[in-house]
């Protein structure tokens, strides 16, 4: 897919890849073999009829092609942009065994964009079943679960703590990878299916699950995500200028700090910025820092590039844009000045030892190798965990050792009757599409629960 050159794109927040032309999309679609037992579909957590939509696209029937996708996926413009297709459907595509797999993600994006430009149509769905379901959290898991339940005819309300719906899609993933207008439009589509969204309602504080039960909700889906930022817990971490990735990205995305002072929320960006971590969140933070005007951005990672959890494509884009990876390096302390501002990171060199439980070789410090990197701003992007705010308000809910909700992987059922969960709050930080897959399975299970409660023996 054509993309904007790095010199140009690091000066603004507009999208980097430009999308396929009509001609290129049709030619790509024509390569599909229409396999009898299509492998690609097995890789898709929301079960899109991939050869089905590709065939319609190849025939030039874009209108029906997008309808085909939306039978299963309410958020195609989002998935077409941020899904790791290379590990999902495309890795399974038979064409990939010898040459290039079909660019399924690009085709999905093409159709979603085509429809958006024409104006999205919504099916009219009367509330055929007058029963209420509450969905907590409006991330991809919650939106999918709510959308599917609405299509089945239930009355669904999503409760969202923030003032805008979308979860990580709106506060985490930057505008240049996923324009917020596109998220807004797909959320609007879910609303047009009959889903009500109540913003600025923190479940556990504003209402408890019991309050919602009293208000007539009969089943619950918890999709509160893994929003708690982890810190390194080393000296100096509360110095001014040290951000969590969540704060840094939330200020920039949700609060639009890149448009300060038109928008009131500022973000501090120094001349030299260091991002700690090697995942997608670290890449997003580094690329955001560049666009906010940093002169030098480096990524401090304790293993090597091979072990970085980020998508290869994202690491490449970051490097193209000038992000400098400092590998086999771990921070031990933040250094500050007398006014409480960070001025440097004391690091220690690492080397790779034996593999640990994650299968990656464990980084071990090299004694005596400490050195200081001078910096003005730090973004700590070493991962997130489950936010306890909501979980504490539900006594008796089963959590695992790390604090995530224990839920049946096939249904999302928790140990509490009528309470289902899915997405990052169950799996830990994962992907948009796996969260959507969990939302979809839970929607089906919630229908089963509402129509035949006894089919869940654990709650009898």
């Amino acid at each position: 897919m054509p993309q904007r050159p790095p010199e140009e794109r690091i000066r603004d927040f507009y999208e980097v890849p430009l999308g396929l032309s009509e001609w290129a999309a049709v030619e790509e679609a024509k390569r599909c073999l229409k396999c009898k037992t299509p492998q690609c579909v097995k890789g898709c957590p929301v079960e899109i009829d991939i050869p089905g939509f590709i065939e319609l696209l190849a025939q030039g029937n874009f209108d029906e092609a997008i309808v085909k996708i939306k039978e299963k996926n309410n958020l195609p413009a989002i998935c077409g942009r941020v899904c790791p297709q290379e590990d999902q459907c495309e890795v399974q595509c038979v064409l990939g065994k010898k040459g290039q797999p079909i660019a399924i993600g690009y085709l999905e994006r093409f159709l979603a964009d085509y429809e958006r430009e024409k104006g999205v149509r919504s099916p009219s769905l009367p509330h055929s079943r007058n029963r209420k379901v509450a969905v907590i959290g409006s991330g991809p898991a919650g939106l999918t679960c709510a959308g599917d339940l609405a299509k089945m005819g239930y009355r669904v309300t999503i409760f969202e703590a923030l003032h805008a719906p979308g979860g990580v899609l709106i506060y985490g993933i930057p505008e240049f990878r996923l324009p917020k207008a596109i998220v807004a439009q797909e959320v609007h589509y879910v609303q047009s299916l009959g889903v009500e969204i109540q913003l600025s309602r923190v479940i556990g504080k504003t209402y408890t699950l019991d309050d919602l039960r009293d208000a007539g909700y009969e089943a619950f889906f918890i999709g509160t995500g893994a929003g708690l930022p982890y810190f390194l817990e080393i000296p100096g971490e509360n110095l001014n200028g040290v951000y969590s990735a969540n704060e840094f990205l939330t200020r920039s995305n949700l609060m639009k700090a890149y448009l300060f002072p038109k928008f009131d929320t500022p973000v501090k960006i120094g001349r030299r910025v260091a991002v700690i971590g090697g995942g997608n969140v670290a890449m997003d933070s580094a690329r955001t820092a560049l666009r906010l005007g940093a002169e030098e951005v480096c990524l401090v990672y304790r293993r090597t590039k091979k072990e970085m959890p980020a998508r290869v494509e994202e690491v490449e884009r970051a490097e193209e844009e000038g992000v400098n990876c400092i590998i086999l390096t771990n921070p031990v302390r933040f250094v500050g000045n007398e006014n409480g501002w960070v001025t440097g990171i004391e690091c220690i060199q690492m080397e790779l030892g034996e593999p640990d439980e994650s299968g990656r070789r464990r980084p071990v410090p090299v004694p005596g190798s400490e050195f200081v990197i001078p910096i003005d701003t730090v973004v700590v992007a070493i991962g997130q965990g489950p936010n306890p705010l909501f979980l504490e308000s539900v006594p008796g809910l089963n959590l695992n050792r790390k604090g995530y909700i224990v839920a049946d992987p096939e249904t999302g059922a928790t140990n509490l009757r009528g309470v289902f969960a899915g997405g990052d709050i169950v799996t830990g930080a994962a992907t948009v599409i796996s969260a959507m897959g969990a939302g979809k399975k839970a929607a089906r299970a919630i229908e089963r629960f509402l129509e035949a409660p006894d089919s869940f023996p654990q709650w009898r």
């Binding site: 504003t206 939330t250 500022p266």
Partner: protein, 283 residues
């Protein structure tokens, strides 16, 4: 959206609003706060719940106009709506009988002191309150504080009303002469720090209500982190009330200043815009 039902000016730059927000009023407890946003371009700012009426579904906020967001809030009138009004957030204070509780409120901090004094009075505590302001005109809610206190002391820095000096000197006197079981202090960070310094040698448990910069207020961003007893805490979910003897106040003071330049710029721009607007209205 939350409608402003009543607005009052308590002192120059200090305003009170009664807000129609039944979803907050129904759950509110002493010690908690709300996060609000006024415009689509606006910041999310935290304000303490100064009082609440679950039956009427209303919440009272009291704020000092210190920067762009609070000044903008101050321009809203009765009948106007606040765009987002989230809460109640944070943990409530423990409501039980401690014995003799001294409540110290400084400046706009008098407002968040009130619900705590009220709740503890209802639990049978003996309440001594000390409220203070820079000058007489800045003082408010003296009568309301008196209603929930067994004894009330008032100070002004310049001696224009009550006793001349700081709230801390009254506190020191009380600590010398009486048994105190708990001190609660809300006000400028420097005041809360001084209160904690004073109560420490007397070994009196001291609670302070911290006011760091916040973004979401739900534990998602980590902006509001403070060091308490050597551990990193998030004020919005672990607080805002903490043990004053364990808080690293100097770190908090530094963290409150992170955006000083930007706040200044936003304020100047806004003032200029407002002046232009007013000029065009005159023409």
């Amino acid at each position: 959206m939350a409608k402003i039902i009543r607005k009052e000016t308590l002192a120059p730059q200090i305003k009170l609003m009664v807000v129609d927000a039944p979803w907050v009023a129904r759950k509110a407890k002493a010690g908690q706060f709300v996060v609000l946003r006024i415009t689509e371009e606006g910041e999310r700012i935290p304000l303490t719940i100064a009082d609440f009426d679950p039956k009427a579904g209303t919440v009272i906020i009291i704020f000092q106009e210190v920067g762009k967001s609070t000044m903008l809030l101050g321009t809203l009138e009765e009948g106007d709506e606040i765009l987002d009004f989230v809460g109640p957030l944070g943990r409530e204070i423990e409501e039980k009988n401690f014995g003799h509780v001294v409540c110290v409120g400084g400046g706009v901090g008098i407002a968040p002191t009130y619900p705590k004094a009220k709740a503890l009075k209802e639990k049978g505590n003996r309440i001594t309150s000390i409220i203070g302001a820079r000058t007489k005109t800045m003082l408010f809610w003296e009568e309301k504080m008196r209603e929930v206190s067994d004894e009330l002391f008032v100070t002004t820095d310049d001696g224009t009303y009550g006793e001349k000096g700081f709230v801390t000197q009254v506190l020191e006197r009380i600590l010398k002469n009486e048994k105190v079981d708990l001190v609660i202090a809300v006000g400028p960070v420097i005041m809360m720090k001084m209160v904690s310094v004073i109560t420490k040698p007397h070994d009196v448990p001291t609670l302070v209500s911290l006011n760091p910069i916040m973004v979401d207020g739900t534990g998602m961003c980590g902006c509001c982190r403070v060091t308490v007893g050597g551990k990193c805490k998030f004020t919005c979910v672990d607080g805002p009330v903490f043990d004053g003897h364990k808080v690293n106040f100097d770190e908090l003071l530094a963290r409150q200043r992170i955006y000083l330049e930007e706040e200044q710029r936003a304020l100047e721009l806004w003032t200029v815009e407002k002046a232009k607007e007013e000029a065009s209205r005159v023409v």
